[in-house]
């Protein structure tokens, strides 16, 4: 039974580990240098 529960822990670790890698690839960060307060797109 110990192997089963340690396997479960490994699986949980793998899920968050995969999340780290996935979120790192989620869009690449684009540092913005626009003027402060400048409108992005249509504004009223």
């Amino acid at each position: 039974m110990d192997i089963v529960w340690m396997g479960a822990l490994l699986a949980l670790w793998a899920v968050v580990g995969a999340m780290v890698l996935g979120l790192d690839r989620l869009d690449s960060p684009k540092p913005s240098n626009k003027a402060p307060g400048a409108a992005d797109g249509a504004s009223s």
Binding site: M1, W5, A8, M19, L21, P29, P31, S32, G37, S43
Partner: protein, 599 residues
């Protein structure tokens, strides 16, 4: 609400403010990596041993993997300790090895700063397991939360190097543990011991009671689960006893970090309702202050590090307003008592000789005021320690702890997790404000763009999904329904509370639910692990993204994030986003129960 309840609340808030300020300032120095020389000399051998250089800042990805590795090793260690405790020293009561599923649940629970306890400490854990496994994780899980908060605050404070460096995880966890958690816990433990909290390695004491005690206990079947009659009520059997076993142990040292680290796992099953854990009114007050100390201090830390104290005050104000409202709801609900007892001639009126109101499940020593305040504090923060049984709160009174947890543990919240959770909501608030006025949202000079909003959405949605999906699975599965001792709305509330507590890393329980089964041990461990780390990962990703951005100067077009308007917007966002997810579930549980009780 009675004048004594108002007085206790006011005293608590004043003392909290006085104590949190210097702690917040010191935490800011640690966050800014300004550590005195003599401290560096003590730390140096530890870094050498670990093979790391504290001045080397990490990319968020490396920071996250270091954090995950550290916590995984902690979980394996706690699991192994429980499984091997029968053969290890400091086990005078001869505790057997903990069952695999319970050991797994407990290991995840303490690593995730939840401290959900499916077991009773005094009949399950050896002194070695309590000290080396559980108490050590109380320190490390708290330090992990503060480290993540540091990383996020640095993300706001840094001028933007394009690299996304958020600090050194090993340095953060070492400094927080060595210079904050250990010293304050030591002082608290000494004070607690002076007040009567026990601290020894003695064997359990068998004592004779003054008179024979007759009582009823639930009758268990062959499977160890409570038997139920045709109506679904538990089958009871008569029992008597003339002796009582007094559990002993090194309690004071564990009690201090249990509160300070918003861990909440009691040495004894009765937690802070046990006289050996919480013997006096002074200890009760100190325990409540210890729970909120670091979460409140971190608001000041935030203000210091970003160079604008008003920002820290704004976050603290939003937390305080929501907390005070919670106390104002729960205390009168408990003072109102139980209407079903009134026709039976039970006097529930508050007077000089009795606390009045609903005293079921409460310690007479603490009464309604201190029990209600404690319940609000322990669930506003992700502590989970209890000085009374939450299962016995009135339906409305019981809904307050549920709601406080469901808001995402951001009303002060856990050490570190409260601040980073609230800052996630603050970014969502400026995003909503940006949508209203048609400007790109920015917070503290950092633009909140598409990537950040995706990450924020993930961080906010993780816990509601875990709570609601987990509750749905538990009420459908026969293994889930088997644990219910109170059928109907209250039974549903117990399951909802368990999943809410687990996924939000609180750890308190409504009790009444037989949760020490493979089904609940597995399900709740899943909720605790993902509720902790699937939230931390996107928060660190946000920290990295913000650290890489340039900090823009404040102009006339910048939304002020320190005034009453923003505080109101922040509270509105927390209530709207945090609470709306749960309204249908609350309607099926405590709201139905309240309407039935007062019809």
């Amino acid at each position: 609400m009675s004048s004594s309840a108002w007085g206790l609340l006011a005293l608590f808030l004043v003392l909290l403010g006085v104590l949190a300020w210097p702690v917040g300032k010191f935490l800011a120095a640690l966050c800014n990596e300004r550590v005195p020389r003599w401290m560096q000399r003590i730390e140096a051998p530890l870094y050498k041993l670990a093979g790391t250089k504290p001045e080397q800042s990490m990319h968020w990805l490396r920071y996250a993997f270091a954090l995950l590795a550290f916590n995984a090793i902690g979980a394996i260690f706690v699991y192994a300790l429980q499984r091997l405790q029968a053969w290890l020293p400091l086990n005078p009561a001869g505790m057997a090895a903990v069952s695999p599923d319970s050991a797994f649940n407990t290991a995840v629970s303490f690593v995730a700063n939840t401290n959900w306890q499916g077991y009773a400490g005094e009949s399950t854990m050896s002194y070695l397991t309590q000290m080396l496994g559980l108490a050590v994780q109380n320190f490390f899980s708290a330090a992990t939360g503060i480290a993540v908060a540091f990383a996020l605050v640095r993300g706001f404070a840094r001028r933007g190097d394009g690299k996304g460096l958020v600090g050194n995880f090993w340095a953060d966890i070492t400094r927080v543990t060595l210079w904050v958690l250990v010293p304050i816990s030591f002082v608290l433990a000494v004070v607690f011991a002076g007040q009567g909290v026990i601290q020894n390695f003695d064997a359990y004491k068998e004592v004779s009671t003054l008179e024979t005690t007759a009582f009823q206990q639930p009758k268990n079947g062959a499977d160890g689960q409570p038997l139920k009659d045709d109506k679904g009520q538990p089958v009871m059997e008569d029992a008597t006893t003339k002796t009582q076993t007094l559990a002993m142990g090194p309690v004071a040292s564990q009690e201090a970090i249990k509160m300070l680290g918003t861990n909440g796992g009691g040495f004894f099953n009765a937690n802070s309702a046990h006289p050996y854990e919480n013997p006096t009114a002074l200890v009760n007050l100190l325990q409540m202050l210890a729970i909120f100390l670091i979460p409140a201090a971190l608001c000041f830390t935030f203000g210091h590090v970003v160079g604008d104290m008003r920002q820290g005050w704004a976050v603290l104000a939003a937390m305080t307003v929501m907390f005070v409202v919670a106390v104002i709801v729960i205390t009168p609900a408990e003072q109102a008592g139980n209407p079903l007892l009134t026709p039976l001639g039970v006097d529930q009126i508050h007077g000089v000789l009795q606390a009045g109101g609903n005293m079921e499940g409460k310690e007479v020593r603490f009464g309604i005021d201190a029990s209600s305040l404690f319940a609000a504090i322990t669930t506003a923060a992700s502590c989970g320690a209890v000085n009374g049984m939450h299962d016995s709160l009135t339906p409305l009174g019981g809904m307050v702890p549920l709601v406080l947890m469901q808001l995402g543990e951001v009303v002060f919240g856990g050490v570190g997790s409260g601040l980073y959770g609230m800052l996630i909501f603050a970014m969502l608030a400026v995003f909503i404000a940006g949508l209203m006025i048609g400007r790109t949202p920015e917070y503290l000079g950092k633009k909140i763009e598409v990537r950040e909003m995706k990450l924020i959405s993930i961080a906010i949605l993780v816990t509601p999904i875990l709570v609601l999906a987990g509750t749905a699975v538990a009420v459908i599965a026969s293994a889930g329904k088997a644990g219910i001792a109170n059928p109907g709305a209250h039974g549903f509330s117990e399951i909802l509370y368990a999943l809410t507590s687990a996924a939000n890393n609180n750890g308190s329980a409504f009790a009444g639910l037989s949760a020490n089964t493979p089904f609940y041990n597995g399900l709740l461990a899943l909720a605790m692990w993902l509720g902790r780390f699937a939230m931390i990962v996107p928060v660190l990703a946000v920290a990295g993204a913000l650290a890489a951005k340039k900090r823009l100067p404040v102009t006339s077009g910048t939304l002020p994030t320190h005034g009453p308007l923003f505080v109101s917007l922040l509270i509105g966002t927390v209530l709207l986003v945090g609470l709306l997810n749960y309204v249908p579930a609350l309607a099926l549980g405590p709201i139905v129960e309240h309407l039935v009780l007062w019809k």
